[in-house]
Symmetry: C2
Amino acid sequence: MTAPDATSVGLVSPLLFQYKQPFALQNGTVLPSFDLVYETYGELNQAKSNAVLICHALSGHHHAAGYHQGDRKPGWWEHCIGPGKAMDTNKLFVVSVNNLGGCHGSTGPRSTNPDTGQPYGPEFPQVVVKDWVASQALLANHLNIDHFLAVVGGSLGGMQALQWSIDFPQRVHNAVLIATAAKLTAQNIAFNEIARQAITTDPDYRAGNYRIEDTNPDRGLMLARMIGHVTYLSDDGMANRFGRELKSGDIDNAGDVEFQVESYLHHQGRSFTQRFDANTYLLMTRALDFFDPARETSGDLVAAFEQAQARFLVMSFTTDWRFSPERSKEIVDALIAAGKDVASTVIDSEHGHDSFLLPIDRYTSALRAYLDHAYNVTVRHKGP
Amino acid sequence: MTAPDATSVGLVSPLLFQYKQPFALQNGTVLPSFDLVYETYGELNQAKSNAVLICHALSGHHHAAGYHQGDRKPGWWEHCIGPGKAMDTNKLFVVSVNNLGGCHGSTGPRSTNPDTGQPYGPEFPQVVVKDWVASQALLANHLNIDHFLAVVGGSLGGMQALQWSIDFPQRVHNAVLIATAAKLTAQNIAFNEIARQAITTDPDYRAGNYRIEDTNPDRGLMLARMIGHVTYLSDDGMANRFGRELKSGDIDNAGDVEFQVESYLHHQGRSFTQRFDANTYLLMTRALDFFDPARETSGDLVAAFEQAQARFLVMSFTTDWRFSPERSKEIVDALIAAGKDVASTVIDSEHGHDSFLLPIDRYTSALRAYLDHAYNVTVRHKGP
């Protein structure tokens, strides 16, 4: 662990929310109970009006800020969460949760099915964004949070923030949607499907029962992560970072040549197999594919937003080709057509979809300004 | 076989060129001999001035036009080659060759190594674009073709046409470079590397000796093709073709759902495993990665073109993100800076990189006009 500084929330410990009642999923399955692991940063004020919910993306988890005992690296959104930062923990109470179906402590494929005494594995039901939002609302109840000052997320996390504004209109004052989309494109689905194929065709996948059979689909998971990673980066960003430099060997000995970008991807792929569960990866990509907040309004996104009461901040990044600014514009246009209060900005960045995880000054400044204003209007003026 | 029509070259048979002398490759390996399988369409005139060479792309082969006995489908560039077509076989003698290292009849990983009596398999040496061009020049010698009226290719084929103009400046009157690039980007290399990883990590790859061991890396080859295919299509083109329609099942039974685009990719991937060799695929993608015509001029593409004598036609397609119009512009800019005669056009198409294989009117018209003019200037005015 690096020495804590004044802008970090410092040492944090995960907390566990145990929901001991049946929980019905969108696909009809009923979970007899579930756990959610989460972290909080800052203090909930007396009026319980300063809570912000962080929703994580495809391969994310609850550990968004600060340090776990013994860890050298902080949470994945450390530069955005802490005293004086965009999500200022001197003012805000930040809640960050690992989603249902995850592999970092919340109930998911690795958990034991209480009905059978065996791990769920591939039998874990397919959860969708609506299920995550519903389970997060139960966590909010548990924390006595009646409404969130803001629900914030990037990518798949932005989809949850969007769904929150529709499913719980009175519980969300602000929805911050970053680098996201109201629906996947065919290309998005195609890349997800190739990643799933890589996993499920790995002989070590064993129809999803790899843990029982004491193996792991490392090859497939590695490929899936490599595919994902290329789509998270921009062509120009990769060019600037890796160029076309050889890492080893000479082009005259072609068999031994490795390009810098290859070695980077291999590293990314290999390290992912150490920390992520294949069944969870399949489940999360399916949740992405199925996301469709306009499904209940016959595909009409404007109608879907009709009941929303939140103010919206929609942000995207110029070189993001996975969820391009055009996809954000579709959300903004629907919000405007629905007569909602929406601010939006496109941030210049060469880092593609990954931008939403990076400390880009104009991005974090915009987030800080928006949340400061929201705090001033909703919390300070009414008294904490 | 469909009924031959007046615009098809009709029934064709492959021919074999056997080069019985040692052939030194760029990486230092010497092939003791090699075969190239090829086809020709039209008649070589007496002056031998009307020959056009077709160079194929990553997964292509020599069968570009007409029908093989018993086949229902014509060659891969049927709409561009034939009587009255862009490559008009009433005027031109078109030569189409399967590249060295291929898997359609030319010497490659499936061939027997005369030194060992065993199939080359993974031991087949890495050939690069310069090697292909050199071997094609030997075929031209065999056919008594001193110079080509045009060398034409798309994608990896365009790279060969480009290299021809540099390596044999006096043997190429016109170089037609379609949807290509002077060098791959880091993103291009990344996608190629993921495809290679998919193949080489397939347990059935057996370190490349899958044929001897009577297996085939179908899973890996299928994934490689699926990855390639997504990069050949544009986001908008996929959206128009597949939308986000479900093929089967209902979203409430998430496990059984399949999107149209998934089923399309599965089909593409599976059928590819029937007709392509994994070692050849690895070799071809490496040749793409290594392509660098400016390597001998310290990265200076303008200097690389200095000796070129050809006229150039450079074509690209608006939605091609694998080899975008920007990459073609780099070639055009270098040709202009080198004082060469270059025409270029960007064709509107929603079909991404695949456009170069499709019958797009403005594209085939531009090609026809260019080649007609070249024929009139070089052949007709001087007498056939």
